[in-house]
């Protein structure tokens, strides 16, 4: 008896999932979004990161004003990445030019440039970057990696030595989290998934209501949990497809590695997808129309993107914002995904975050089921 009840339940759940897949595959717009949104986003962000930038307006503050410092500036010019538009002796002037956006990069050569180069462990050159332009942060990192030959004594580059990258310090203004493609792509998985997942499921229940199918659906023996889980399942698959897409594009375009195991990565992503879908279903039970659902989904997306540590460093946020961030699945997923993709963490290393995601899923699904009545009022 109990097993046949369970079999019936499973059959209804599968029927709902299959129907959802059929409807999705016939809805061209949604279908396009499944592939289009992640591709568009990753290419957009990717361009911002990997933009082949040249001739960036630059201000140079050469305090050393020595032959060696002039040589250094010449080499910098030769890279064609920067175009020295201003030279100044005052820090205030440099600040002003940067603030007014007339220069995007500032190169500060300290008075004791040569001594620092020879012996000092302190950075020899400071490059100041306008971090509000995401592409520049990566550029600066690039400049810092530029092998710069420094002449010793006479003779063209005789005994020249490579200046160690660490000797050039990059200070990012307005964006203290120095970001590179390697860091952005893992975070993008979370951002893209939470956008598409919440957006898709937020309309799931409302759509049945708007199209008038709900009245028939609730007249059948279909259970509430069966309906919710059945609705959610197809999107789990879609989420995994999107993840794969981002990983492939990330690896192909930006050489983003997956240091940890793929299995860990997918397992963690699965939990995150389910949590996001739970949130979407909850939104779906709040809204009366698809438009409302869409707006509500957007409302949940904003804090996710702003507070999860994707935009701003988590540590720098006010305590209240940190509390809110604690409640967002993306915050925890960011920790997991960076760990797995960049540091080779295993699932065991990130179980507190995984646990929080699982709790989030159960709570959201619970609220959604409780809120959804098989009634019209």
């Amino acid at each position: 008896m109990a097993t046949s009840r369970f079999a019936g339940s499973l059959r209804r759940l599968r029927a709902v999932a299959r129907k959802e897949v059929r409807q999705l595959s016939r809805d061209r717009v949604t279908f396009g979004m499944i592939v289009g949104v992640p591709l568009l986003q990753i290419v957009m962000f990717g361009y911002a990161i990997n933009f082949d930038v040249r001739n960036i307006a630059t201000v140079v503050q050469d305090l050393a004003n020595s032959s060696m410092s002039r040589e250094f500036i010449a080499q910098l010019r030769a890279t064609q990445i920067v175009r020295v538009e201003y030279t100044t002796n005052s820090s205030a002037e440099l600040d002003r030019l940067m603030r007014e956006g007339r220069a995007s990069v500032g190169v500060v050569i300290p008075r004791d440039f040569e001594r620092r180069l020879q012996s000092d462990t302190r950075p020899a050159v400071q490059i100041v970057v306008d971090g509000s332009q995401p592409s520049l942060a990566a550029i600066a990192a690039g400049i810092a990696q530029t092998p710069i030959l420094v002449r010793h004594g006479a003779g063209p580059y005789a005994g020249g030595k490579r200046m160690a990258p660490r000797r050039i310090e990059v200070r990012t203004l307005y964006n203290p989290e120095k970001r590179t493609a390697v860091q952005i792509v893992p975070a993008l998985i979370g951002v893209i998934l939470s956008m598409t997942m919440v957006l898709f499921t937020s309309g799931a229940i409302v759509r049945e209501r708007e199209r008038g199918n709900l009245e028939l659906l609730i007249a059948t023996p279909l259970g509430r949990l069966e309906l919710m889980v059945g609705k959610l399942l197809p999107y789990v698959g879609i989420g995994l497809v999107q993840t794969t897409l981002i990983l492939i594009v990330g690896s192909a375009l930006f050489n983003v590695p997956v240091v940890g195991g793929l299995l860990s990565l997918y397992a963690a992503t699965l939990v995150f997808i389910a949590a996001s879908l739970g949130l979407g279903l909850f939104v779906s039970t709040l809204a009366q129309t698809q438009f409302q659902a869409f707006q509500l989904a957007f409302v949940t997306m904003l804090p996710s993107i702003l507070l999860s540590g994707f935009m701003f460093p988590f540590e720098g946020m006010p305590v209240a914002a940190q509390w809110i961030a604690e409640l967002l699945p993306l915050t925890h997923f960011n920790v997991i995904i960076r760990g797995v993709m960049l540091r080779g963490a295993e699932l065991g290393d990130v179980w507190p975050q995984l646990g929080k995601l699982a709790i989030f899923l159960v709570v959201m699904l619970g609220i959604a089921v409780a809120r959804f009545k098989k009634r019209l009022d």
Binding site: R18, K19, R211, A219, R375
Partner: protein, 316 residues
Amino acid sequence: MSGAAVSSGIAITARQLTRKFGDKVAVDHIDLDIPSGRIYGFLGPNGSGKSTTLRMLCGMLLPSDGHAEVFGLSVVKDAEAIRRRLGYMPQKFSLWEDLTTDENLQFIADLYGLEGDVGARIAQARATYDLESLRRQRAGTMSGGQKQRLALAAATLHAPELLLLDEPTSAVDPQSRRDFWERLFELAEAGATILVSTHYMDEAERCHGLAIIADGRVVAEGTPRALMESVDADIFEIEGADGSEAPRVIRELPWVHGVTQLGIRLRVLADRSTKDAAEQLRALLARHGIDARIERTDASLEDVFVVSTRREKRGD
């Protein structure tokens, strides 16, 4: 599976069943006893509360007052148990427009957990409701009549004991309507109880039993024949008075319930308490220089409807 109430011959009972939406009373303390194995009709104009009543009976709207039992089960507490034994066809087409006939039927079969050879049962439904040529057609591209056949096939697929049909023929041509009613009689013949709402008089006349609903109340109840025979009015047909003046002056008589123009004839509903109605009418028309022929005739369901709703209004 058959409850005590079914064997006693009553499928649905309602007592003082009421539903309010804010201040608006959509269903106003109605009592119903609907026998099983019959086609029972709700006849009423738009907004009279037919859909609201049906929705309460399948447990998707809660009563504001009173109670109702289906198969002896409470529509509030035992809604799930009722749902398994009930087929519901909402007023608006509610199957999935982007799914085909077969896909829609398969989905419904899964939801009701149909056992045995499901494919055969779906094939049977296709044959009964003439859907064979529409197997792979999406519901959204079907005509009104095709949609309605599909909806009825879906509502009856699990062989429910009770069918609730909410204005099933409103978007359908006359031939489809006749076919549809043939199917309903077959289902009733096979033992199903059918509760159907309509605002068509001719459909109402085909029901075994009928409740006339106006403003959320049952204003008359019985078999169509009994309703027509016991109508509290005398019906006169007047010929030769097809101007605009005659209806106007007749309507001013205090004992006239209603005047309807039917081509060249006027149909007048007169209160029974007026004994010499025909003479009074003739005299009135003569005074306006109209020489008309006046004849008494039998009441139609429409007359019953007009009289009952009129009495209801004056009774308050």
